[in-house]
Symmetry: C2
Subunit: 153 residues, 2 copies
DNA sequence: GTTTATGCAAAAGGTTTGCACGTTG
DNA sequence: CAACGTGCAAACCTTTTGCATAAAC
């Protein structure tokens, strides 16, 4: 189950490559490291968190590079910005095939992901009704997760 | 149609009063001005925006008061925090009866509100499935609004 | 009079940028 | 070698806090 065909990451890389070449951007080693690491994880990174991880792989790297790379990935559609109301931007890789939404525990900060096609269909119909052309969406349920409920009683 | 019975604002005020007294907080004039103004509008205020408006009513007021009052309203459930990915906190009055979600135009920044009970029901069922106790939720669709679509072609 | 609220200014925290130097093509 | 990318440090912007003073109870 760990074995993968060459789909997801390759598609992502290609998308980035196209974006890059279209704008005369060069292929820098450090940016590549950041991109590869970020896209291979399934996490909601703050800039700081990603910075800390990358520093272990690429010690000389600067904060700005992480910052600029995340912005870049965001612009070319490979990272989507999340806001979990903790005062910092967060980004998660968005492999086009698997969008999901979030349950966010206000006590322990845990993020539970879910996906619900019926909700998405209803969202589309709402958008259509407003003639609104949706590019992305976020659904977040804030509250208390199961384990934090038992902790308090 | 402009005439109102004493429902919505009164309920809000009572909720705040209870919250206030429970904690030995005093009834300050300036805070009252901020609260009244905020709750009477139907807007998504950043701290700065509200500050500018209040300054016209109550010129000597300081930024911190706006700030602290919004936090207070948020804690006692009369203001809900919104994030429209513009780098600042925003708050909107949340009169318990009328929750709604947002379409956010990426071009002109317009916010279109909508409400969809079917989506809310599905959200509840998702939460139940995860034994998650929801306190609040946000659904945001980012994209291009009808009028911005015609502008570009 | 004691306690809470406020304004001010400074601190803090996160994000962004200018610039000199390093890399890429 | 020309153009882009990077690290560093400083700038920026929003949010938060400490403290002396003012207002509420």
């Amino acid at each position: 189950m760990k074995m993968k065909f060459n789909t997801k990451e390759d598609i992502d890389t290609n998308r980035l490559e196209r974006f890059r070449k279209e704008r005369g951007m060069k292929n820098s080693t450090r940016r590549a490291v950041v991109v590869a690491h970020f896209l291979s994880r399934d996490r909601h990174y703050s800039v700081e968190e990603l910075y800390q991880e990358i520093k272990r792989i690429e010690p000389g790297i600067g904060y700005s590079t992480i910052y600029r790379t995340l912005k870049l990935l965001n612009r070319c559609g490979l990272a989507s910005q999340c806001d979990f109301a903790d005062g910092r931007q967060r980004f998660e890789p968005c492999h086009s095939t698997k969008h999901h939404d979030h349950l966010i525990c206000r006590k322990c900060g845990r993020i539970i992901e879910f996906k619900n096609d019926d909700i998405e269909k209803l969202q589309e119909s709402v958008a259509r009704r407003h003639q609104f052309q949706v590019e992305s969406h976020q659904l977040k349920l804030f509250g208390i997760c199961a384990s934090c409920q038992t902790k308090t009683g």
